[in-house]
């Protein structure tokens, strides 16, 4: 666990907020006023986060909320899911828990993602997918729309299917890993 390499980034490339979020200047973030970051969350280069696709209606609407110690990998696309309900078209909010890592190049249109979830590289998470706590999605998985991934399970393949149960220590392991990753994501001057 302690062998995780230090990831360095050029300081001027990232904006660090006072709650410790690190957001790349090269990420595309639309509708930033509708996005909530929990703190100590990293948004890598070339990620696209769509906070502009909001639910119609008066007042303030949260579109995407991310918890603490999350990572949105390089080239990820996060956009809320849409459907028509009683004849009205709408986008619906997306909620992501704490300690969630999303690998590079994944496309996420989930409705809810629990805590301590790991999503691999180049995954496609279909619309209105629900991923429960401590689940893991392997690299290159394609989850069709409306999938429900139960807690402590590993999903892989196209279409994504249940592969095996994860050990009960997953929560501690993922928590330690995400904290370590954040602590080793360090700026270098230049």
């Amino acid at each position: 666990m302690n062998t995780l390499p230090v990831v360095n980034y050029v300081k001027s490339e990232y904006i660090e907020t006072d709650t410790g979020n690190k957001v790349s200047r090269r990420a595309t973030i639309a509708g930033a006023q509708n996005i909530i970051l929990g703190g100590k969350t990293i948004i890598a280069n070339a990620a696209i986060i769509r906070g502009d696709l909001r639910r119609t209606g008066p007042g303030h609407a949260v579109v995407i909320s991310l918890g603490r110690y999350c990572l949105v990998g390089e080239g990820c696309v996060m956009r809320p899911p849409y459907k028509t309900y009683r004849g009205n078209f709408n986008y619906y909010p997306m909620k992501i828990g704490d300690h969630v890592h999303i690998g590079a190049g994944s496309v996420v249109e989930a409705a809810t993602i629990g805590n301590h979830v790991e999503i691999g590289k180049n995954c496609v998470i279909g619309k209105f997918t629900i991923i429960k706590d401590c689940a893991k999605i392997a690299d290159n998985t394609i989850l069709p729309p409306n999938t429900v991934v139960p807690a402590l399970s590993l999903f892989a393949g196209s279409p994504g299917q249940f592969i095996e149960d994860l050990p009960e220590t997953t929560q501690e392991l993922v928590e330690a890993y995400t904290k370590l990753y954040y602590n080793r994501f360090l700026p270098v001057e230049s």
Partner: protein, 175 residues
């Protein structure tokens, strides 16, 4: 190869974000919505996009041929898909991360599933209602049930985007 001449004609009712990479001769029809970070490259021949299409983030449309690349009406191109086919009919869906080679032509009401590759060696036309799915890009024919609901959803989606996108994104206009 002659140098690329950029010539965009964007219909006044179309919504094309500023953050879209465009090259060559491109025509965008009425009511079409192009999300930010999409890319349209008419490298040799022009690209003509019909009405009420939706191009999501990371979509790449490329025309490497001399002939016009024609895209019909009410098509949906989802996130990170790459399309080089010279002819696309109406009401097709190209899902997330799917890829269409320049040898395929699409009819109407086709669905290309998420992550599917359609890369035939020889020229091929996918007939109407073809569905490509799964990791091995298998094919079958859709009965057409739920077609009206699908079209209705598509129309409302485009209508919603035409209203909401200009509030948060800068738009590109025809010069």
């Amino acid at each position: 190869m002659p140098p690329l001449r950029d010539k965009f004609s964007i219909h006044s009712r179309a919504v094309v974000c500023q953050d879209v990479e465009m090259r060559g001769d491109i025509t965008v029809g009425a009511g079409t919505v192009v999300h930010p970070k999409a890319a349209i490259f008419a490298l040799v021949g022009p690209i003509v996009i019909g009405t009420n299409c939706i191009l999501e983030e990371g979509t790449i449309l490329v025309n490497r041929r001399k002939e016009v690349m024609r895209i019909g009406d009410e098509n949906l191109f989802e996130i990170h898909c790459r399309v080089e086919s010279p002819v696309i009919g109406d009401c097709n869906t190209v899902s997330t991360k799917a890829r269409l080679h320049h040898t395929v032509r699409l009819g109407d009401f086709c669905v290309i599933g998420a992550g599917c590759l359609v890369v035939p060696v020889e020229d091929e036309v996918l007939p109407d209602y073809t569905v490509v799915y799964g990791p091995n890009s298998e094919r079958r024919v859709w009965s057409g049930r739920g077609k009206l609901q699908e079209q209705d959803l598509r129309r409302k989606h485009a209508e919603y985007l035409r209203e909401m996108l200009p509030k948060f994104n800068r738009l590109r206009r025809s010069e």
